[in-house]
Amino acid sequence: MQTKQQLDNWYKKKDPWQYESHPDDMYRKNFYLAVLEDIGPYFDTALDLGAGEGWITKDIPAKQIHALEISDEAAQRLPNNVERVSSVTSKYDLVMATGVLYAQYDHESVAASIHEASDIGTLVFIGGIKTWLKPHTFGTKVHEYCMLYREYESVIQIWEYQ
């Protein structure tokens, strides 16, 4: 499992995964935002767990956007419309976790935070590479989409928390 130090080292360089220049990441982001408009279209409060530098976070259609990000190097690049929080202290209308429920991260802790941040009716948006995603459940799954992403199959799961 990656440590905070390893993540900080990884994020010394801006956009280490090259999300901003890879066409499949533009595709993935457009897909995410369209799904959010479909299930929203707009949220009062949203939390992004493992937000990184906020490349997707900043465009979440929500009045108040919070980000939980373990890496200080990544979090210092969060855009102005995103507020970094150090822990979950309230419930949200939308909880997102994309690319973090993986074995390389503390996915049990992320899942626990998702439960903590969710109330009845909260929509939970899980995204990630299909074969890497650890199986967690967050109520009733209302949608699942698959898309081709780089050399992988990527999935989006929408859960309604209960």
Binding site: Y27, N30, F31, A34, V35, E37, D38, P41, H143, Y145, C146, M147, L148
Partner: protein, 173 residues
């Protein structure tokens, strides 16, 4: 099902007047979907059909297509299209993400283009263009019907007829 794009008074095949839409007694497939359809939505009152959304253009304008059309128009947001479908007898369909000719793409790119970010049963081929490979991938993606505007079969018993449905324009006279 008939084809329409904009509702307006421009003299161009991409435009139908309100009167022409009102006079059409067949289901209509709107491609785009343009904001002027939303703004003229009262003419949809007794109509039915499909709103074919283009993913990358939702809420944006048609500047990418300006050499083919007489003027700049905006597209509806997804929420506006969903509102039209909830108010009138229309269903939502998919017109791909970027309106590229599917017959010229790799299998991987076709799959990306036809994967919609919401549940839908209907696809409109960009430029109406399909071939056997495209039809096979559209079927595999779970679509129930796919519509063309430039080719297609009218024989409902033809092979894969539901994926080669020909649409002519809403009558202009």
């Amino acid at each position: 099902m008939r084809l329409a794009h904009n509702i307006g008074n421009e003299k161009h095949s991409n435009y139908h007047t309100r009167e022409q839409i009102l006079a059409c007694d067949e289901p209509i497939g709107f491609d785009g979907v343009y904001l002027n359809v939303f703004e003229n939505q009262d003419v949809l009152e007794e109509k039915s059909g499909i709103m074919f959304v283009m993913g990358n253009e939702m809420g944006k304008d048609n500047s990418f297509d300006l050499k083919h059309v007489p003027k700049l128009e905006r597209y509806c947001t997804l929420s506006q299209v969903k509102e039209l479908c909830s108010l009138y007898n229309f269903e939502i369909g998919w017109h791909t993400w970027s309106h590229r000719n599917l017959t010229k793409l790799s299998e991987r790119d076709i799959i990306q283009e036809i994967t919609a970010p919401f549940p839908t049963k209907y696809l409109r081929y960009p430029y109406g263009a399909y071939n056997d490979k495209v039809v096979a991938l559209v079927k595999a993606a779970g679509y129930e019907k796919a519509y063309s505007v430039t080719q297609g079969v009218r024989d409902e018993f033809a092979e894969d007829a539901d994926y080669k449905i020909y649409s002519n324009y809403v009558p202009f006279n």
